[in-house]
């Protein structure tokens, strides 16, 4: 397993810029997630590491070795696709041994390694089946075993769970997550499902419009988003506009302390759970959404802006009720206004 580095990768197709200066590091043994809206360049980034796209500018290195121009078959990279792409003309075992065969590993050794992996993934009894006869979850395990068999420098997973049903997804998520940890695999996990990325990845990179917006642990991305895009793309955020002066921010209906000492117009991102009831600001409930454990309230603040907040599922509020709202200043994020223009243009 290796450390993979992308250095100022740019990929241009004709007029269209798919990836616009991406710097990323996948550390030895970690699982890095890439999330972002469709068309943000996450698949292009993955294919650049695999070698199926040569970047217009920039370098790809594995453990410091430049592989930018190395063809895919010489990179030793494992690939797992959403569509599995299993070889339906071969048995499950032959699928898993294929990569080893290409490396001229002896037949007995190949078989041994394949059977170990199939055992590890709990599909040893399927070894002689045709992949076309397997269920989606089983096929995805075969795909994973096939990619792991070559002991890749890096394992690339392209939306591997999309298309599986919700329950299976949860189970496979835990299994694959712990397997990747156990085998100490360096992995890149591309997904549009942020929850999946949070559950499976050590760190997450948020991509937008061909650029990396933020890289960090799931917690830091959720709790300390560095710009509006990340704040709204990962989870739900209420964006409020305010004016900063001295070391306070005036939100119109309330004021917040600001130790960043920003000035001018700012955007304040607050999660639905950052609001609580029983505060001094009078707000009108517009709509309630019952979600079992919790209830989402759409409320209108005195300045006319609408926010979403969470209350207990049993709380009895109806549209038209007037409630007192309070904002928890600890967790809100403050960004200078203006970055929004670039990010929202894509949403």
């Amino acid at each position: 397993m290796s450390t993979v580095r992308l250095e100022s990768i740019r990929k241009v197709y004709g007029e269209e810029v798919a990836v616009d200066g991406v710097d990323l590091e996948i550390r030895d043994g970690e699982t890095l997630g890439i999330v972002g809206p469709s068309g943000c360049g996450k698949t292009t980034t993955l294919r650049t590491i695999a070698g199926f796209e040569t970047p217009t500018d920039g370098r790809v290195t594995f453990d410091g070795t430049d592989v930018t121009h190395v063809p895919p078959e010489k990179r030793n990279v494992g690939l797992v696709f959403q569509s599995y792409a299993l070889f339906e003309t071969k048995t499950v075992r032959k699928n898993v041994t294929f990569g080893l065969k290409m490396r001229d590993v002896s037949k007995t050794e190949r078989r041994k390694r394949a059977d170990e992996l199939l055992e590890l993934l709990d599909i040893a009894d399927l070894a002689d089946r045709n992949p076309a006869t397997l269920s989606g979850g089983q096929q995805q395990r075969v795909g994973l075993a096939r990619a792991l068999a070559i002991e890749p420098h890096v394992l690339l997973l392209d939306e591997p769970m999309t298309g599986l049903d919700a329950e299976l997804k949860l189970r496979l998520r835990d299994e694959i997550g712990s397997l990747l940890d156990e085998l100490d695999v360096t992995a890149l996990y591309v997904t549009h499902d942020q929850e999946e990325a949070m559950a499976m990845c050590d760190r997450i990179a948020v991509l937008n419009d061909g650029r990396v917006e933020q890289v960090g642990t799931a917690e830091s991305i959720y709790r300390q988003p560095t710009n509006e895009f990340v704040a709204t793309f990962v989870g739900t955020s209420n964006l409020l506009t305010g004016v900063a002066r001295d070391d306070r921010i005036d939100l119109g209906f309330t004021e917040l302390a600001d130790d960043m000492r920003t000035t001018g117009e700012v955007t304040v991102a607050a999660r639905p759970e950052d609001f609580s009831l029983g505060g001094p600001v009078d707000a009108t409930v517009l709509e309630t959404t019952y979600l079992g454990q919790r209830k989402d309230l759409q409320v209108e603040l005195p300045d006319g802006s609408t926010i979403t907040m969470q209350v207990d599922g049993d709380a009895d509020y109806r549209a038209g009720d007037v409630v007192g709202v309070e904002i928890d200043p600890e967790n809100v994020q403050i960004f200078p206004t203006g970055i929004r223009e670039r990010t929202t243009a894509l949403l």
């Binding site: 199926f52 040569t54 121009h69």
Partner: protein
Amino acid sequence: MAFPTTERERERRRIVIMCLPFFVLATFAGFVPLIVMARMSLSAENLENAGWSFAAWEALVTEPVYREIAWNTLWFATAATVVSVALGVVISHVLEKYSLPFENVLVAVVSFPIALPGIVVAFMAIVLLGRQGLVTNAVAVFTGSSAIDLASATSVFGLFLGYVYSLVPRATMVLRGTYAEVDTRAEEAARSLGATPFETFYHVTLPEIRPGIVAAFILTFRSALAIFGTVLILQALAVVTLRIDYEIGVGFNTQIAGAIGLVYALFLIAFTFVGLRFVSNKTVEI
């Protein structure tokens, strides 16, 4: 390109390599012979390409018989194509929308004539419309006339049947491909909104299969123009392919045969490329 370093360059090299075998064949078996045929039409000698002469092209332009042949070919092929495509729409509609018994067998039977060379199709026309033909004798029984007078296999009508016999299967197969991709939910929606089956067909199905109909028309018309064996046996109408055979067989007028062949080939190529501009390549299946 000798040592490509990017995946894009490698890909381009692969495209060239993969297309190369076909183009080598197309060059030696298609383009070169066509060019030699063009030269042949301008040759002063009829047994080899030697010297230059415009006699054949002059004859083609001035002699009225060639205009008549061109007219014969075009109207006959067009008529046979229109009838075949219309029948093809009906057959593929019925096969796709109604559950008829033995549908698999029906498809196989309809496709069967695609495999038959034109001379065999001519024989089929004789079996139906010849002096001993089934249709001829059935009509003879009902009308009381003599079967010999009624036999029409070697008439224009018999030839038309032969053309349609060859073309209906081709048209149907193209349209079956189109029909398979029609969105049945839109049709169901139309029916549930109160449209009759005919209204549904006219407003929903027809617009969807229109590209298929155009593609079927192009392919079928091309096939109609290429028919030779059927007309060689039945000899009912002087069309281009028969005339080419006549020019070679009677007097060995290779220059005129070459000139007709060239005009015909260029017409077909131009017709195809112009026609296909109106439809996506995806609809063209046989």
